[in-house]
């Protein structure tokens, strides 16, 4: 079974990568001297992969995602998104970005919040309506389009923000600890939903998290990172099947991967002292 999974991963990586980083460096100049947020990061992400970035604070996992989104500019190395520079990829609407806070506008209904990127990108009103209905259905919020954000629970707000990121057909979804502020029960539910959504839409997903079970449960590839300087310490191709019921988390395979992630994190932490 493990062989089959690895074979399918090979298939994916045989096509050209969606995101490709080589020797990526990013150094922030601060008053306390330079901070090496990213150092020598090499990574390839294939189409349709679900890649989690895990590591302690300051390991550069969010920074890497922000580089992909062209919200930060690397100081060294190369980074391409869909074969373009991150800037060009952004202008080509290559990705949707989901932040830790849902960040919905309190003065807009859920529908209008989802319409925000569509308005900015100049979609027609009719096209907007079609897309809003589509993504609302995708995140199971069809009956909540007319509500204001404060009328929704935290988990529902985050689903709405995912819908907003999906509205304009980007084939990459970048998620920066999207469920970090939610309680574990809601989180489990959203994780399940996210996997379904991923299977239906076949997006490529980059997902930053603090949680080992979340990373292992969701991902086809787990990138373990460590701080000072921010770098990759391990890349784990998950042998788990694409179909993943929640109780897969009790299987030996799952626990084995979780163990390897934990080892990777521990190895990175040895630098601290």
């Amino acid at each position: 079974m493990q062989d089959v999974a690895e074979a399918s991963v090979l298939d994916q990586s045989s096509t050209s990568p969606v995101i490709s980083a080589q020797g990526l460096d990013l150094t922030f100049e601060t008053n306390d001297g330079p901070v090496h947020a990213l150092s020598g990061v090499d990574l390839e992400i294939g189409k349709g992969e679900f890649v989690s970035f895990i590591g302690p604070s300051g390991c550069g996992k969010t920074t890497f995602l922000r580089c992909v989104a062209a919200l930060e500019t690397p100081t060294g190395g190369t980074l391409t998104v869909n074969g373009m520079t991150p800037d060009a990829a952004r202008k080509a609407r290559a990705y949707g970005y989901v932040f830790q806070a849902a960040g919905l506008y309190p003065w807009r209904t859920i529908e209008k919040n989802i319409a925000l990127p569509l308005e900015i990108m100049g979609y027609s009103k009719a096209e907007q309506d079609v897309r809003i209905a589509q993504v609302l259905e995708l995140v199971e919020l069809s009956n909540f389009g007319k509500k204001y954000p404060w009328q929704l629970s935290g988990g529902m707000q985050q689903r709405a923000s995912i819908a907003r990121a999906l509205a304009f057909d980007a084939d990459i979804l970048l998620m920066d600890e999207p469920f970090g502020a939610l309680d574990e029960i809601v989180r489990d539910h959203l994780n399940e939903q996210l996997l379904e959504l991923w299977a239906r839409t076949e997006k490529t997903i980059g997902f930053v998290t603090h949680s080992i079970p979340e990373a292992v449960y969701l991902s086809t590839k787990i990138v373990v990172m460590s701080p000072r300087p921010g770098r990759i310490t391990d890349i784990i191709e998950s042998p788990l099947p694409k179909e993943r019921p929640l109780d897969i988390r009790d299987t030996p395979e799952f626990l084995q991967i979780a163990h390897r992630v934990r080892e990777g994190l521990r190895a990175g932490h040895a630098y601290d002292d």
């Binding site: 989104a69 919200l71 952004r90 202008k91 609407r93 990705y95 949707g96 970005y97 932040f99 830790q100 806070a101 960040g103 506008y105 309190p106 003065w107 807009r108 209904t109 925000l116 990127p117 308005e119 900015i120 990108m121 204001y148 404060w150």
Partner: protein, 310 residues
Amino acid sequence: MRNVVPILAVLGAIVALWYAVVAPMNIRGALDMAERSGAEVVPAESRARFEQSVWRLMVNNPDYIAAGYSLDRPRLPTPQQVGQELWKTTGEMALKGRPMSKRSLIYHGWITLQSTLWGFVLGTVLGMAGAIAIVYSRVVDMSLMPWAIISQTVPIVALAPMIIVLSSQVGIEGRGVPKAIISAYLCYFPVLVGMVKGLRSPGVAQLDLLKTYSASGVQAFLKLRLPASMPYLFTSLKIGIAAALVGTIVGELPTGAISGLGARILIGDQFGTPLAIWAALFAAAILAGVLVTLLDVLQRLTLRRMGMQA
């Protein structure tokens, strides 16, 4: 309904305190009146009374305390006297069909209101324009903001006559324009400060989100910064319009104006008619209250329309 009791309690306490203070404030006046009409008071001499404290006078002349509550020209009029004067110069004149008589506070209030509203509009436009410039330009932030703060440390009473003189020098007739400028001078600052805070209220993540859509600066302003600043704007407008009214009244005070609530206050002072001063003061306070309340209603309606809980 539960709120009515504490509100009435505070109001009652203020009125009671006011009535209590009237007695010591007016005892000298009451005794002077009594002396002039031939009554016996202790001490009999006005000069001797001047040496004594009001408390002692009250103890020595308890019969005349009551007279202090109905003087024509009291040091401190009673709430009832102020109310009567206010009615006489507003409602009664309106009933007589002369609401715009030169002796009517409705007429003077209207003069003041016009300048206030012009000043408010001018100040709000200037404040908002300044805030936008400050938020979008670091250079403007560093060069304009200190002057905005300094402008508010200059006493407006000192500045008002200069503005009037300068505007007549450049050939502006009448007092309407300089009064509006003085009013705007006080009004723009709260609007500027509130709008800067409001326009800057969206967090980094909010701005980053728009960047991921490659939104233009104008789009970010119209779709995020401006709506996000609305609650701040209304709070500032409420402070601003009260400041604009104060500015107008100050503009009417030291400048020889003959109409407007400020002029009524000054004339009341010069002619020794405290009732006129107090009536004009209350008219100004009521006007300010009405203006702020109107803005408050507008705020509630706007924010509710925007779906925000106000």
